[in-house]
């Protein structure tokens, strides 16, 4: 007997369902294309995805069942702009790779598991301490229980998580064993459910157990340095450099914290790695003591020693990658800017990575450009002669300014190859100076004659120095 284990949207539309017999499906739809399911390949693909998420998102990622991933986003979400942006970004990223995904963020593994699988929404974010409200109406299949238990509970008339949790615990355990109670407690966060992060043999990992729990920051720093030294030695053996390092802190009360250090370029210099990790030791809460430290290089790249030609004449420009790493790990956004060949001012600039190779070129434009450019041009009231005279007077932020001298217009055409709406758009830019010598970059949307080219409203776009 063969069964359907997965179906694409077109098949679902035709009335095929997962769990349907293959022969019935073939009877319903002629010329049905069927591919043999391969659980082993699926599992391998899921593991690859988990490793990718491990590098990209959080130090704690594991495969959840046969069809999901579980990610501990604690301490990792702010790097992606918050939980909502993290999950929507993740879902979009997967869609870009041709995968359909649903994601949920909740306080516990159990709740997130259930919500991601049972809600129709693509992304769900449950606020902290709101798990009970979110899961109370979910069916009991959400509880990761064996099928027989679920059927047994249904026979008793229990359909939702809320009904099950209202049952007295003793008869329930007598009838179905400890499993339903344990799963309920895990879902509501009453018992801990640690996530064991995925590991592969290639990952370089060093650990240190303590006979006596440690807690002082200096002691932690001392052992972090020792672990980093061991890790660097292991990386050097393999000719690798670390790009992401995770430090796991196991406390005596069986809870775990983690610190992640990201690097812009592969590194195995112990001093740099330990500075990055020791920099944030104050964020560790040792509680009653730490019994184990584990350091893993989750993402390593080949790093070879290279001889650098040195010049005795030229002044050496220091490599700032260590500084970029330190600041980047503290949550600052580091970037450089590079020119883009576009006349539209806001498009003439793009951000590149701080450690990207030198571009070498600067902006070719020789016209004066304002030092500050407003993200949103601000409306001004203007008295000006049409079609191509600069304003004589303008009112900006409630203050009337008389224009003493002006330069312009500098006509900038819309870029229809970016947006079809800009096909006829025109902006006429003027440099205007008021009586105090303060100079502004103002523009008129439109060429002053043809209403097709713009609204003929005036805006301030920037301030000159």
């Amino acid at each position: 007997m063969r069964w359907i284990s997965a179906a694409d949207p077109v098949a679902l539309k035709l009335g095929l369902r997962i769990g349907m017999a293959a022969s019935k499906a073939q009877a319903m739809v002629a010329d049905l294309l069927m591919v043999d399911a391969s659980p082993a390949e699926d599992a391998a693909a899921l593991e690859r995805l988990a490793l990718w998420a491990l590098r990209q998102y959080s130090p704690v990622v594991a495969v959840d069942g046969a069809d999901g991933l579980v990610i501990d986003t604690e301490g990792a979400d702010h790097l992606h702009g918050g939980e909502a942006l993290l999950v929507s970004g993740l879902v979009n990223m997967l869609r870009g790779r041709g995968l359909t995904a649903r994601a949920a963020v909740a306080d516990t593994w159990g709740a997130a598991h259930a919500l991601a699988r049972l809600l129709a929404a693509e992304t769900t974010v449950v606020p902290v301490d709101n798990v009970t409200k979110a899961v109370i109406d979910l069916p009991i299949v959400a509880l990761r229980l064996p099928t027989e238990t679920v059927q047994g509970l249904r026979v008793l008339g229990i359909d939702t998580v809320g009904q099950l949790s209202a049952m007295p615990r003793a008869p329930l355990t007598l009838r179905f064993g400890p499993e339903p109670g344990r799963r309920l407690d895990q879902m509501f966060g009453r018992v801990a459910e640690p996530i064991e992060p995925i590991r592969t043999p290639e990952l370089v990992e060093v650990a240190k157990n303590f006979a006596e729990p440690i807690g002082a920051p200096e002691t932690i720093a001392k052992y972090v340095r020792r672990l980093v030294a061991q890790l660097s030695a292991r990386l050097a053996e393999d000719g690798l450099g670390a790009r992401r390092c995770d430090l796991f802190i196991h406390r005596v009360d069986n809870t775990r914290q983690h610190l992640r250090a990201g690097l812009a370029k592969p590194v195995r210099d112990p001093a740099r790695l330990s500075k990055l990790l020791c920099d944030r030791i104050e964020t560790i809460d040792p509680g009653f003591g730490i019994e184990k430290l584990v350091l893993v290089a989750v993402f390593a790249e080949p790093l070879e020693e290279r001889q650098v030609a040195s010049s005795l004449i030229e002044e050496e420009v220091a490599d700032i990658t260590p500084l970029v790493d330190i600041l980047g790990n503290r949550g600052h956004r580091l970037f450089r800017v590079a020119p883009v060949a576009s006349d539209v001012p806001e498009r003439s600039i793009r951000r590149i990575a701080a450690t990207a190779p030198d571009i070498g070129e600067a902006w070719a434009v020789k016209w004066p450009r304002p030092t500050r450019l407003f993200a949103n041009p601000e409306r001004i009231e203007v008295i000006a002669l049409l079609p191509d005279q600069p304003p004589a007077v303008f009112t900006w932020r409630g203050k009337r300014r008389r224009v003493v001298c002006a330069d312009g217009p500098e006509r900038i055409f819309g870029e229809w190859w970016h947006r079809p709406r800009e096909f006829q758009a025109v902006r006429d830019y003027f440099v205007v100076e008021d009586e105090l010598g303060e100079r502004y970059w103002v523009y008129r949307a439109g060429d002053g004659i043809d209403p097709e080219t713009g609204s003929h409203l005036w805006f301030v776009h920037g301030v000159f120095g």
Binding site: E315, V317, A318, D319, I320, P322, L323, V324, I326, L327, R330, G331, H332, R333, L334, F335, R336, V337, A338, P339, P345, S348, I349, A354, D358, I359, G360, A362, W363, V365, P368, R369, P370, T371, R372, L373, F374, A375, V404, C405, A406, D407, V431, V432, E433, E435, L436, G437, E438, R439, G462, V463, F464, G465
Partner: protein
């Protein structure tokens, strides 16, 4: 001021005080402006490396700090090495800065969410060493913070420049509060050079050296940095006749 610099007795005294202040300190390096009048007003003949400097705008520039940013860019352009530019409001339009001679490859921006984070990034940059200058756009600069920045700069010899810009124009009175910075500047715009034809001439600024350690305050009328970051002194600065007209126009 010029006399002070030339007086041998004072010069000797100054040297002895410097020895007392920091015996192990390496010889102070300076970045001259290349304008004799300005350099004479600064001890050592230029803006000191390994020190903290404060720059703010005047008038509308207290909020946008456009002229001050360009002045700082001119200074950074004439230094050698990378520049770290810390800020919380990313509205600097780099093509303008590039026109003052600062190449985009030399500047690494560091955008933070809060002021304190920008301060900590500045301090980290100053104590990193190997950077030519660290620029920070800040609203508040308490004494303690400025002291930390000054000490970090002294240790590595990088130049720290705090670009003060406020949320509202009337908050700029904060600029009178004492800080540990070595020099303090205010850059306000002046009406630009009148051209014989219609159009806007080269930008002109009033650069007030409001405070300088071991020196006296001064003010200069300067032309905005050229393509290599060099400022120059305007011919009108010598007689001060233009000043009253300027103040009258500011008051009215």
């Amino acid at each position: 001021m010029a006399n002070h610099a030339l007086n041998p007795v004072l010069a000797e005294l100054r040297e002895r005080i410097e020895q007392l202040e920091g015996g192990s300190q390496r010889a102070r390096q300076v970045l001259p402006f290349g304008v004799a009048e300005v350099d004479r007003a600064l001890p050592g003949g230029g803006l000191a490396f390994g020190a903290l400097h404060e720059v703010a705008g005047g008038g509308g520039g207290t909020v946008d700090g456009a002229a001050a940013a360009l002045f700082v860019a001119g200074i950074a352009a004439r230094s050698r090495g990378k520049v770290l530019w810390c800020m919380t409001r990313p509205d600097l339009f780099f093509p303008a800065v590039a026109q003052a001679g600062l190449h985009p490859d030399r500047v690494v921006f560091c955008e933070s969410d809060r002021e304190e984070e920008a301060l900590s990034a500045m301090e980290e940059g100053l104590s990193f060493g190997g950077l030519a200058a660290v620029v920070g756009e800040l609203v508040r600069l308490p004494m303690t913070a400025s002291r930390r920045l000054q000490l970090a700069a002294e240790k590595t010899g990088a130049m720290g420049i705090v670009l003060r810009r406020w949320r509202r124009q009337n908050e700029a009175s904060d600029y009178g509060q004492p800080t540990a910075s070595t020099t303090r500047w205010r850059i306000s715009t002046l009406p630009s050079e009148r051209l014989p034809v219609a159009g806007v001439g080269r930008a002109r600024w009033l650069a007030e050296l409001m405070r300088v350690k071991a020196g006296e305050c001064a003010e200069f009328e300067i032309g905005a940095p050229d393509g290599k970051g060099r400022i120059d002194l305007l011919p009108t600065a010598r007689d001060g006749a233009d000043q009253t007209a300027r103040w009258r126009s500011l008051a009215g």
